[in-house]
Structure formats: C-alpha cells, structure tokens
Amino acid sequence: MGSIQLQHVNKSFGTHAVIPDASLEIKDGEFVVFVGPSGCGKSTLLRLIAGLEDTTSGQILLDGQDMTAAAPAKRQLAMVFQSYALYPHMTVAQNIGFPLKMAGMDKAAIDAKVKEAAGVLNLTSYLDRRPRNLSGGQRQRVAIGRAIVREPKAFLFDEPLSNLDAALRVNMRLEISELHHQLKTTMVYVTHDQVEAMTMADRIVVLNAGNIEQFGTPMELYRTPANRFVAGFIGSPKMNFVDGAEAAKHGAFAIGVRPEHMAVNKDSGLWRGTVGVAEHLGSDTFLHVNVDGLGLMTVRAEGEKQLHHGDVVWLTPDPSRIYRFDKDGQALAAA
C-alpha cells in the first residue's frame, strides 16, 4: 500500500511562500510526475513528502496516517537523488544493502536481497566495484537498486535522469517505466522535462510558482489544458499563441494552436507566411514560419515535405483544435 495525500500543505522560508497551498491525492500504485520550470517548487514538494523538509503548515498523510512530523526514516519511502548520492566508500553491493543493514536485517538475508535487486537491474557483475568506477547509467541503477531493496511504500525520484546523456536518458526512462509495471509500487517523479512527464506518468502534476496548475492524465493535459501555462508547457514543439484581433474572432482574449494541428499548403489557406528555418527530422519536418501580422509560428509537416527557407506557405488551423483563453489565461470551454 502506498497512497500519499497532501492537505493544504504550505512551505515558507521567512515570509516567502515556496508552496503557498498544495492539496493532492496520489493513489496507491500510481506513477505521478511533478513537472514545471525550474524554481517552480516541484523538488521542494517532493522533499516535503520525503520528510527532508519540514512543512510550515498543512498535513501529509501516507496510507491515511498523518506523517507530517515523522522523520524521513520512519516514512518507509525510498528516494533516488539527482546526484545519485551513492556512498563513495562502499561497494555497489554495500550501497544497495545499506538500508537493509540500517533496518538490522541479518547478513545472509541482505546478500540474497542485494543479489536479487542486482539481477533485476543488470548489476550482478559490478557488485564489488565502487561508484567512481561506474558509468552514469550504472550509478543511476545502483541508486535505484538501493531504493527497491527495502520495498518502500513509494519511490521518490528527484530529476534522476538529468545528469545522463540523451541516449541513455531514453533508455533509463523505459527501464523505470518497466520497473513500475513490475513492482506496481507508487512512484512520484520530479522532472522539468515534459517529454519524460508525458511518456512515463499515469497522472501529471503541473506546477508553476509553487501552485498546482493542473493534475490529470497526460492526455487530459494535452487535450484540455486548464490554462495557458499548462497548454504552453505540455506538448512539443510548444503550442502557438495568438492574441488581438485574430483571437477576438474566436471570442477569446488569446487562442492557441498546436504545431501538429495546422495544415500547410503552398497555394491557399487562412494565414500567409514565409518559411524561416525548416528542420527536417526525417519522420517530421518542423517549419518555423513568419506569419504576416501574427509573428513566428511553429508547424509540423510530414517528413518528406520539400519546403525551404524563404518559401511562401499558407497555414490553416484545425477549427476543432483551437484553444481559447480569457484575459487571465484560463481556458474557455470549446465554442
């Protein structure tokens, strides 16, 4: 079991509220991702759950029990740090076994558990090495191993992949997702990368300036963003926003169109523009088009489309996929 509830949690340093008022309910077995730009309070929120920071006010419940004042060790949570935080003077086996040793488990049982975890994580042949002799990906797996052996109620991940190179990051993303399917334990994962959030999460919490902007499944956030911030943050490349007269035609202060929801035509369409940079990825082509009177827009076209710098194109947004926002950036119901 591993449900996590936050009730009106507030965290302030002096008069500055990092987390003004957060309430949240994470179900047992869920994979929840906290995502937001740097400084949005997502790591602080995770550390509050871990018990590494004290809450200023509000409650944190684990499995329905109030754990607000409990020490980190008493919460039965495991954490994987961005820096991995491996013990440099211990071998891989000792690192993984450390929490069990702290729990007073006997040596034989620790060995068995460590072997099992090492098997799952492909670390068996590295058990006697020290962290400094491991690659980044291997260190990451040791950190995960240290977390899984103690069978915690929930795993907390603090930007675990940001120190890895791009290819390895994709791999580890898959491994962590696979691990979640195997273990079915609650996971809370912090990242600033919306791709990680979209691909891994059961549900995503979008944070901005310490406030929870929206909490929902990846597709809910993609299809019905609650506000302009979420709309702009989720989805890659970013949604294009237009305000002024063009938005007023749709009865809104601002409208947004995703790059993948626009048709590109060389002869006719709604908006006329000139191609600036064309990024040919093979599967897709991203066109950065300077639209007359509206500014720069990003459009996704099919991969083999032969369009180049300086070409004149016409863009036509899919009318059913135009998002409308009011003056405060809140989403308006579909027209």
């Binding site: 871990a50 590494l52 020490a71 980190p72 060790a73 949570l77 495991a78 954490m79 740090f81 961005q82 820096s83 935080a85 491996l86 013990y87 440099p88 003077h89 450390f98 929490p99 040793k101 702290m102 729990a103 240290r146 103690r150």
Partner: protein
C-alpha cells in the same frame, strides 16, 4: 615537423628544469652528503661533492654527545600532540560550521583566520611571563598547547573545506535509508571525512615540527625540540660541520618525506582553500 620541434623543445625544457631543480635542492643535497664525510673532508678545500671516505660516525657522535634522541622525541611528542589536540577541538567545530551553517558562520571563520594573523611577538612578553609564573618554561606540555593554538585556525579551515565537499545529498540519502544520527556518523560521515582529516593532520604535523619562534623562546635544554637543538650548533666554537649535517639530515628527513607525500593538500591548507 611539429613533432620534431616538440621533442627538441622538451629536451631543452627538461634540461633547464633539472638544472634549476638541482640548484634549489643543492643546499639540502650538500647537507646530506656532508653528513657522511669526516670532519676533515667536510671543510677540505677544494670541496668534493661526494664523501671521499664514507662514514656513519657523525650520526653516532651526534647521539652520544648531545642526546639527540631526546630532542627527536620532543619534536615528535610536541608536533603530534599539538596536532591531535587541535583536531579534537577543531573537528566538531568544522563539522558544525560545514553542516549546519548559520548567518554568523562566515564571520566566525573570518575571525578565526584573523587570530592567525596576529604576530607572535605581539604576545611573546605576556606568554613568557605567564609560562614563567606557571613553571611551564622548557616544558613539553606548555609548548604543545601553544603550537595547538597557533595552528588551530588553519586546522579548522582545512577541515571545513574538506567537510564542505561531502555532498548534503548523501547525508539525506542516509537519512532516507533509515540511518539514525549515530549510524549516519559511523557508516557514512566518518569514512567520508577520514581522508580530509588525515591530510589536515599531516600538514599540521609539518607546521608544528618546523615551528621555530616559540620553540626557541620557550624551551631550553630539557624540552627543546629539534628546531631549538639545531640552533645550539650556531655557537661559534669549533667547526663540526659533518656533525651539524648529520643532525640536520635527521631533523629534516622525516618531515621532507611527509611533505612530499602531502604536497597537494599543502597548497590548499596554506591558502585557506583560496587556491586548490
């Protein structure tokens, strides 16, 4: 083409560096070689670089004439004793400042450093009088305390810079892993801090071993460490250069080896972490 030029250049640079290195090292080399000469050969003219008649006699003479070993023991006791004393009170302080810093920590560190700037002559008179009153003149324990106080700021600073490098993440990980404060200390903190403590200790032993202001002014025959003992050779009667060289070689050899081992930490310690 470029390769040939590089090799040629390397030969020139290597030659120059070795010549300069040997010139700088020469007085030490000369002392070591002279210690194996007879007194006659030591002042022979023209001098010969290597002893014409190798002898160990000087080393035995130094011991039998002046009880060299006693001064050596004094040096060991004073330098190691003052270092251990300093570590005992500096480790907790550096620890607290590195891991639970307050806005005042910085000022305290700066103030500690400023005590190191005080010239010894500024306090020579009262310390001398206090020691005289307490009967601590020519006393190993008194000197140990003075040297501990002399080096305490450097010790705190060095330890602080080492402790600062232990990532907070690791301490948090240990807490998440269920370690109590005691276990955290035994299994995580101490093993990670040992290298820093060891190199601090090494540097401090070197500094204490070579300290020559207080040792000259506060000791006489009984408690004199090697610094003061060697100074007694400066009296003009007789030219016992081979014996002087033997005594000097014995006095500098252990610390030269320690110094060579710790040269990396030395920079850091002596510049208070300003140059690493």
């Amino acid at each position: 083409m470029a390769r040939a030029a590089t090799t040629q250049r390397k030969i020139v640079v290597t030659t120059a560096a070795w010549i300069v290195g040997l010139l700088i090292f020469f007085p030490i080399l000369w002392t070591i070689l002279t210690s194996f000469k007879t007194e006659g050969d030591a002042i022979a003219f023209p001098p010969s670089l290597f002893p014409p008649h190798w002898t160990l006699e000087n080393y035995f003479e130094v011991q039998s004439r002046s009880d060299y070993f006693r001064h050596f023991v004094n040096s060991v006791v004073i330098s190691i004793g003052s270092t251990v004393l300093a570590l005992l009170i500096a480790v907790p302080a550096a620890w607290a400042m590195a891991f639970s810093p307050t806005p005042k920590t910085r000022d305290i560190m700066m103030w500690m450093l400023s005590t190191k700037m005080m010239p010894a002559v500024g306090v020579l008179v009262p310390i001398y009088l206090i020691f005289r009153t307490l009967g601590l003149l020519d006393n190993v324990w008194g000197l140990m305390v003075i040297l501990m106080l002399m080096n305490l700021p450097i010790v705190v600073w060095m330890l602080y810079t080492y402790f600062k490098e232990i990532p907070v993440d690791i301490l948090e990980a240990a807490r998440m892993d269920g370690a109590t404060l005691g276990k955290e200390l035994v299994y995580v903190l101490v093993p990670m801090a040992v290298p820093g403590i060891a190199s601090t200790m090494l540097l401090n032993v070197i500094l204490a071993w070579n300290e020559a202001f207080w040792t000259l002014n506060l000791t006489a025959a009984r408690a004199a460490p090697l610094t003061a003992f060697i100074a007694s050779y400066s009296s003009p009667e007789g030219l016992f250069w081979a014996k002087l060289s033997a005594a000097s070689t014995l006095a500098i050899a252990p610390i030269l080896v320690l110094g060579w081992i710790s040269q990396k930490q030395l920079v850091r310690g002596l510049t208070f972490g300003a140059v690493k």
